[in-house]
Amino acid sequence: MTNLEFTPLVFGISAVAGCLGALTGLGGGVVVTPALTLLLGVDIRYAIGASLVSVIATSSGAAAAFVREGYSNIRIGMFLEIATTLGALLGAFLATRTPTAILSVIFGLVLLHAAWQSSRKRPADAKTLQPDLIARRLRLNGSYPSPDGPREYQVSHVKTGFSLMFGAGTLSGLLGIGSGALKVIAMDQAMRVPFKVSTTTSNFMIGVTAAASAGIYLSRGYIEPGLAMPVMLGVLAGSMLGARQLIGARVRVLRWIFAAVVGVMAIEMIVSGVQGKL
């Protein structure tokens, strides 16, 4: 295939992935890599490099809209970014030493989790009033706007959340994904941060986390300009379109379709990993 044929094809695939990622809130990166490797036979390392770059674009591009809503908590974000960036460094180092077949299987497992996550309803915000000393000392507790005025929240289990964030960062660096789902779990379920605050703060953190592994990817030659160009532009365009469509879209149906697509990709990735094709 010549570049003139390849570039629009990759742009199209990436735009669809970015749009679906924005609509479902799972991010485009997690779909781009399997699409490139399974459909076009791109080496998984090039795909991961291009996907990571697109993750930075969507995270930073979306931040403006999220911040204005007043949900994100810059202190929680900054504190947890220590864990995610350290994890991202570890993940990026591991990525250069892990056989591609194993990367493919791990990717498949993460996709399976994403499929399961997106097909079920999220649990309601749990209330805990267990005070956490670290949360108080680091002033992590905050408030968010609600119809009845600002609502205060308390953060708990900071240590657990911090460890989970290290894991999320490692996966992000290993697979070139934003691992937003895992970041939300760490904040929403472990630290009891309200869901809206978790999702927006997670989005805020994804760019910084990805930048930490991007430096290592760059020096290892994972970021190939001819491939990263259509992926980054495609995912960015798709996610901007998806974010605009979010209101009024039939999210429930979309989530099921997305879960099905991701589930099929997950099995394909695991199978090709086991057969040693990638």
């Binding site: 570049n3 090039y46 930073s60 591009g61 204005r68 460094l89 930048a211 760059l218 300009p225």
Partner: protein
């Protein structure tokens, strides 16, 4: 300076960074397709990007009308630097708030990012 104002300034910075980088990548992409459009797209086997595309200094030196892929890479480099700029801005914001704890935490994050981008990789 409040946290909310700081976040709004940062979000404008992020959006500017992304748009600027997308513009440079598009420019490099058009140039790349017009020069190398008929060449084969070969990404099946991993060789790693060319040495000049692997470091900031290499990319900055090579980028120009005679090297379109380097222009794309320059745009991608701008994108990678956007979150780093965000951390620098947060550091300045916390300094204005005289929040020493968060100045320290932000400095740690910045150090990790600088290590990734410029440090010696094992």
């Amino acid at each position: 300076m409040t946290d909310q104002r700081l976040e709004i300034i940062i979000s404008v910075l992020l959006r500017t960074g992304v748009l600027l980088s997308a513009a440079v990548v598009s420019l490099g992409g058009i140039c790349f397709l017009s020069r190398h459009g008929q060449e084969q797209a070969e990404y099946h086997v991993f060789h790693g990007a060319a040495q000049i595309f692997r470091s900031a200094s290499g990319v900055i030196h090579a980028a120009g009308p005679s090297n379109c892929p380097a222009v794309i890479q320059l745009g991608l480099l701008l994108l990678i630097l956007t979150p780093v700029a965000r951390v620098v801005f947060s550091l300045a914001g916390f300094a204005l708030e005289r929040d020493r704890t968060y100045m320290l935490l932000t400095t740690i994050v910045l150090a990790i990012l600088i290590y990734s981008l410029a440090g010696p990789h094992l």
